[in-house]
Symmetry: C2
Subunit: 361 residues, 2 copies
């Protein structure tokens, strides 16, 4: 039996320093001192890579979403210490320009733009982003090689969204600054592999040493902690922010989503572009057609154009396409972006204290 | 600035007692002292409810699986400190009797039987389980009200598997001793709601105060920790144990699974009974038929009988039904059940140390 005398000087919130905690933790299992110290340190540095990369307080990214994330939402999230993203997917270049300028006026904190690489006037859009001196671009739905270097040469940080470790390695080849890995439970456009966030983070983490942001099914402090345990260093949250006061989605859409239960969203339109939709008249018609073997062209024709705008922005709950993620079942009231971030941070810290009290197995 | 002198007497593996850690943790945020203490304590007690309920060392359950989990696997898992389950779904009553008796001879530790309530000779099977004095029964694929009380009156602990919080509340009404909530990423038979484990655990946790075991996508120490952060107190692991030395699946099946990558499993046969299958000739034919709108009866006719036995047990990789979960992409070598459990525990404790070294947000 050994006697240790530990003198701890507490200057406020923190009783034990990080190094002291690492020392104590490591002592608990002599066999793992070395790896434990290294891994703890890695985890510590990794968690902060996302904050350092974007110069933000919390490693929380608000996903760029069609018809939800304009300047009001993006600036509110950035003001609250996260990273707000404008969703360029549903904006004409002129509209995006207006939102970038309004966002700059609303916050002096960092914000970014999400660009689906399938955007029709992509050159015009990227020129605008460069001209407006946007510092952070998240790209998705395309080949990361196409734009990464060009944007980085303008001093822009580039992050690409993937749904598999195969595409994560393509991102590393393309030289992106960070990766978002998004699982099956996410709302809207989704990967063909149907890999869930729980299964995706560990394989992507193994594939790349780049800063890793987890997305899909995350909207709380406990799910953020879970994502960190699996190897992520930041989280991208779509659905929860889509349903905040500052989201430009219609109140009809938000209120509809507050009443959705487990199983009320489904990944549909797989022959066109897999998309997670809330159950409504439109989604039921799609499901019926798919069940009967409708072809890609039949589905495209039925889908037509502007369905997402109709559903999310205009609030047509019957004929509109209601894109939302599985965690909508966990959200039942309107909050501000600031309240959402505060709640996530408080819950994260509570879970952290709970885990710290665990004695191990 | 306050000076604290902390005298810690370390008697071996543990440097700080749990109470001391709780004290330290709580001090870090005075505002949360009360809730923090209560929650930490709850977490501590909850984690142990699964171990107490079954009288096992680790809160790790080996899922009962058709053609994989006979007496060899179940007894090996129980010997290693988890809870082994015989999978009655693929056994005639006489075969189950033999496996129960062999399992008793192979281990004096607790083990159980998994019974799909859709089993044709269910009365005969349950009589046998009672007569053989099995102490733990996991039921699935049916109404938990049917058998729970009868089994409990014989001194049997009853756990029911669900894929939604709606069925979790039905389980609570039926008086089960614990609940398994299983997400979309799990292998074999699966829920119709397609809710992923990450999204399912928090809603089920909110629905019931019963001991909660998470399943689907779990096969490592980090995913076990992630499940605990989300509110689970134990984990049920299928796929990883299905691919161990002691699993009665054929080597051909195991080796095939070791080479599967992300996206190589898919939830198919949704019109019959949603089932997660590895990609092979059979699954591609099913997918093709479903894409063309095949009806339930056409799919049933094509499926025929004995496909799972053919694929998993007999190793027919062409025409057989290969049931396996998404985490097969993370497993690439044969290990014993003991090695699997050791690896999970070591990784769990490592992750725990890493989290303990985090300073909070």
């Amino acid at each position: 039996m050994i006697l240790y005398v530990v003198v701890v000087i507490a200057g406020g919130k923190k009783l034990l320093s990080r190094k002291q905690i690492i020392f104590f933790s490591c002592y608990q299992n002599k066999l793992h001192i070395r790896s434990c110290f290294q891994k703890s340190l890695n985890a510590y540095l990794m968690q902060n890579r996302i904050c350092s990369l974007f110069n933000i307080k919390y490693p929380i990214i608000q996903g760029g979403m069609v018809w939800c994330s304009g300047w009001k939402l993006a600036s509110a999230v950035s003001e609250a210490g996260g990273l707000g993203l404008l969703g360029a997917g549903s904006m004409h270049p002129e509209t995006l320009k207006e939102h970038i300028q309004k966002c700059k006026r609303a916050t002096d904190k960092p914000f970014g733009v999400n660009v689906p690489l399938s955007y029709p006037q992509i050159d015009e859009l990227m020129d605008l982003i460069i001209a407006e001196k946007v510092k952070i671009v998240f790209t998705s739905a395309g080949n990361p090689k196409l734009w990464t270097k060009k944007l980085q040469n303008e001093g822009i940080k580039v992050v690409h969204v993937v749904s598999s470790s195969y595409f994560a390695s393509k991102c590393e080849d393309a030289g992106v600054d960070a990766i978002v890995c998004e699982g099956f439970e996410a709302g809207g456009h989704n990967g063909r592999e149907e890999t869930t966030t729980l299964c995706l983070i560990p394989t992507v983490r193994k594939t790349t040493s780049l800063p890793l942001i987890a997305a899909g099914g995350i909207g709380s402090g406990s799910s953020m902690m879970a994502a960190f345990c699996l190897g992520a260093e930041g989280v991208q949250i779509g659905t929860r922010f889509a349903l905040t006061k500052e989201s430009s989605a219609s109140d009809a859409f938000k209120n509809y989503c507050f009443n959705l239960k487990e199983g009320d969203t489904k990944l549909l339109l797989k022959k066109v572009m897999p998309t997670r939709l809330a159950r409504n008249h439109f989604s039921e018609q799609v499901e019926e057609k798919e069940s009967q073997g409708a072809s890609e062209s039949e589905l495209r024709a039925f889908l037509g154009r502007g369905r997402a705008k109709k559903g999310i922005f205009e609030g047509d709950l019957i004929e509109g396409e209601l894109e939302i993620g599985q965690i909508t079942a966990q959200i039942n009231r309107m909050q501000s972006a600031q309240e959402v971030i505060n709640e996530i941070i408080v819950e994260y810290n509570e879970i952290l204290q709970q885990v710290k009290a665990e004695k191990g197995l």
